[in-house]
Structure formats: structure tokens, C-alpha cells
Amino acid sequence: MTDQEILQEVRTYIANTFLDGDSKGLDENTPLLQTGIVDSMGIMELLSFIRDRFSLDLPEEEVRPENLENLKVIVALVNRFKKS
């Protein structure tokens, strides 16, 4: 899967789950945590989505804001922990 494909899938998931399907203005740098797009319950849903969809072996200590603050870092996280 290319970075672009991963980005597109996560973007669609976030738009559908947290933004009533409206992905306007949601780019790879949009702050997801600061803006509250993904709130404290949403983070669990997002994590479970990326874990399942991309078969991630994601250690708990990697569940840090730096790894989830926007789509760009989420793509990097997916690439780092995809099961080979």
C-alpha cells in the first residue's frame, strides 16, 4: 500500500466517523487532537481502526500524541508498525 492510499483510507475513516462525511479542509497537517476532531473516545475508535485495517502490531507506549496528531504522522506510524 502506498503512503497516499493509507492517507486516503484514514482520511475517509476520520471524515465518516467524526465529521459526518465532510472531509473538506482535512489535509495531512490538520491538527486532529488540538481541534478536538478526534476526542478522548474517538482516539480509541481511531486506534482500533488503524490496528485492524493495517494489521498493526502497535505497542502501547507508541500511543502518544506525537504519533497521532495529524494524518501525516499517522501514515508514518502505520508504516513503522505494519506487520511484515
Binding site: T35, S40, P65
Partner: protein, 377 residues
């Protein structure tokens, strides 16, 4: 599905009811003071019901803990005091038990369980109530230490607290993931506690603001990981929203006993009030509301004990119990007529103590938001 209690669970309930009636209530009536009452609660084990025995707790699960609070709520008329004990246990002791370092647990949990230390939870601010994670209280890292600056409002037990489980933000850009939970002794330089608030009900629970002016605590004071503060708080609210409300079941039991006795004894128009079907139906509705709330609460606690995600069940149980407490208290006042408004019957106090229950631990609206979220809305 098995709805029966074991003989041990019956015994636990009976012991807690006896403690509340024979030990705690006399302390309340004699006005021995908050600290003395707290020590009595500690002696019985109330302050550490669900904390492990190795730290001075009783080691109960959520269901038995809630049921114990139910018995104490039934047996003790000072719901403010029982609320204070529950807030101490669920929002201060439990986050420490579940997320603190071993060293910190050894240091403070036994003293919190015995009542030697009074614990509090400080998250709400003037700017952030329901939107709790929008807090402004700032946490700065300085080497291995944290420095905290800000102010918290509505801190239950604040005026007597020795230990404050306090939440602040390390980085507002990280939203709820920037929140960190810290265990701060009240004696720490820079902590000031405000005067106790006057309030509508739960008067036995002292509540105040707490101010932090560049308070320094070591890294060992942190609960969980740096980004985990919101999860630590949410988990403590699961305990509180499920188990604390056991107290209101007990209050409603006591209230209904009082209502039934009054309807049978008070005569108007040549017969007891109980013979007016409209009044008997109101009592029947109180019973229905109480038992519905009870089932939801037990199920929420059972799910916690199963180690499953109980967010939805807890939210439903919290709404059902708190809203039943308010409505049934209003019904009890109405059924008692003028006597319901007079202080000596204790009915008016039940109403005042019920009103805050739809607000603290997350308002009814916020619980409905959680349920709606679970429905995919």
C-alpha cells in the same frame, strides 16, 4: 443469568448497613466533625473497598463495592458525607491504585484507605466543566520534575484534602492526549485551598477551589504515561459513575420505606392516604424507578468486574439512578404534603442531596451524548 447474592454478599450488605446505622449515623448526629467521620469510614473499610488488600483496602470488585455504598446510603442520613467518602475512593484512591508507581502506592494508599489522609480529585476549572479536557491548568517539565500552575473549582474534599489527584495539560496542541495526571500533596509549596462553598445539597461534603502556583512535583507523582491523563480520569469516572450511585439506591430504599409508612399512618377524608389509589400509584412508580435503576447499576458494575468496556452501561446507569433520585425525592415531598417540606422529616434533605447527582461525575446531558455516540449518532 443469576440474580441471587451469595451468603457472603448478604453478610457484607448487613455489616455495611449496621456500620452506617450504629457507627456512622451517631457520628453524624453528634457532629463529631468531618475528619472523625472519615476515620470511622476508614476503620470500617469504606475508603478502600475496591483497593487491593495489600495496600490496606478490602479488595472488592465494583458490584460488591456499589452494594456496600447502597447499604451505607440506606443507613446513614448524611449523604454528603457518604458522597465525600465515595469521591475520595473512586476519584483519588483508585487512579493511584491503578496508575501510580509502586513506591507512591505504598506511600499513600494505606493512609488513604484508613482515613488518615483525605483524598480529592481536581479536574474541573472555571473554563472547563463538561468539556473537562479543555482545561487551562499548565504542566511544565523541568528536568525530572513537573511544575503545575492553574486553578481548579468544585474540588470535593478540597478543604480537608491531604492528597490531590490533579490534571493539567502538558501541551494544549495535543488536546486530550496532552493531559497528565499528577498526585500532589496539599502541603506542596504553591498549593492553596479556597474557602468551602455553600451549596444546595450534599452539605456534609466539603467542596472548594484549589490553586496551584508553580508547584513542583517529581516524575514519580505522575499517574500512568504522560499522554494518558485523560484515560486515567475516564477510568476513575467509570468507577465513580457506577459505584458511587449505589448510595442513591440506598437513599431511595430508605425514602420509600418512609413513604410507605407515612401513607399508611396519615389519614385524610376518613381513611389512610394509602387507600387513595393516585397516591399508592405514585409510590408504585417510585418503586419501579428504583428497581429499574438498580438493575442498570448492577449490570454496569458486573460488566466492569468482567473487565469489559462498560461505557454505555455506566452512562445509562448513572442517568437512571440520578434522575430516579431527583424524581422520587420530589414524589416523596409531594406525598408527605407540608411535612415533606419541613426539615425534621428528612425528606427535604433527600431532595437537596439528589439534585447535584445529575451534575457531578458528568451531567445527564453528557451521559446521553455517550449513549448516542454508542448508537453511532
Amino acid at each position: 443469568m443469576d440474580f441471587s447474592w451469595t451468603p457472603e454478599q448478604h453478610q457484607l450488605y448487613d455489616n455495611a448497613l449496621a456500620f452506617a446505622r450504629d457507627r456512622l449515623e451517631p457520628c453524624v448526629q453528634k457532629k463529631v466533625g468531618f475528619r472523625q467521620c472519615f476515620l470511622a469510614c476508614g476503620e470500617f473499610g469504606l475508603l478502600g473497598l475496591c483497593a487491593p488488600e495489600s495496600y490496606g483496602g478490602v479488595g472488592l470488585g465494583a458490584l460488591d463495592t456499589a452494594r456496600t455504598f447502597e447499604a451505607v446510603g440506606r443507613g446513614c442520613t448524611d449523604s454528603g458525607l457518604v458522597f465525600a467518602a465515595a469521591a475520595h475512593l473512586f476519584a483519588c484512591v483508585m487512579p493511584i491504585v491503578e496508575f501510580a508507581t509502586e513506591e507512591l502506592k505504598q506511600q499513600v494508599v494505606p493512609k488513604l484507605c484508613s482515613g488518615e489522609f483525605v483524598g480529592a480529585n481536581a479536574i474541573t476549572e472555571d473554563v472547563s466543566g463538561s468539556d473537562a479536557f479543555a482545561m487551562h491548568t499548565a504542566v511544565e517539565k523541568d528536568g525530572d520534575d513537573y511544575i503545575i500552575t492553574g486553578s481548579k473549582s468544585y474540588v470535593t474534599n478540597g478543604p480537608f484534602a491531604d492528597i490531590l489527584v490533579t490534571y493539567g495539560t502538558l501541551n494544549p496542541a495535543h488536546g486530550h492526549m496532552g493531559i497528565v495526571g499528577l498526585v500532589i500533596p496539599t502541603v506542596t509549596a504553591g498549593v492553596t485551598v479556597g474557602a468551602p462553598f455553600e451549596k444546595l445539597g450534599l452539605k456534609g461534603a466539603p467542596i472548594s477551589s484549589v490553586y496551584y502556583e508553580r508547584c513542583r512535583v517529581p516524575a514519580g507523582a505522575r499517574l500512568g504515561r504522560e499522554s494518558q491523563g485523560s484515560s486515567v480520569f475516564t477510568r476513575s469516572m467509570h468507577w465513580e459513575r457506577a459505584c458511587l450511585f449505589g448510595m442513591y439506591l440506598g437513599v431511595m430504599d430508605r425514602q420509600l420505606e418512609q413513604v410507605v409508612a407515612y401513607l399508611k399512618q396519615r389519614r385524610q377524608f376518613g381513611k389512610p392516604l394509602s387507600k387513595q389509589q393516585v397516591l399508592a400509584h405514585r409510590a408504585a412508580d417510585m418503586k419501579l424507578r428504583l428497581e429499574s435503576a438498580r438493575l442498570l447499576l448492577y449490570r454496569a458494575c458486573w460488566k466492569i468486574d468482567c473487565g469489559e468496556d462498560a461505557t454505555q452501561e455506566i452512562a445509562m446507569s448513572k442517568i437512571a439512578t440520578s434522575e430516579a433520585a431527583v424524581q422520587s425525592a420530589l414524589d416523596a415531598v409531594q406525598l408527605h404534603g407540608g411535612n415533606g417540606v419541613m426539615e425534621e422529616m428528612g425528606i427535604a434533605q433527600m431532595l437537596r442531596d439528589a439534585v447535584p447527582s445529575t451534575i457531578f461525575s458528568g451531567t445527564s446531558e453528557i451521559q446521553r451524548n455517550l449513549i448516542a455516540r454508542g448508537l453511532g449518532l
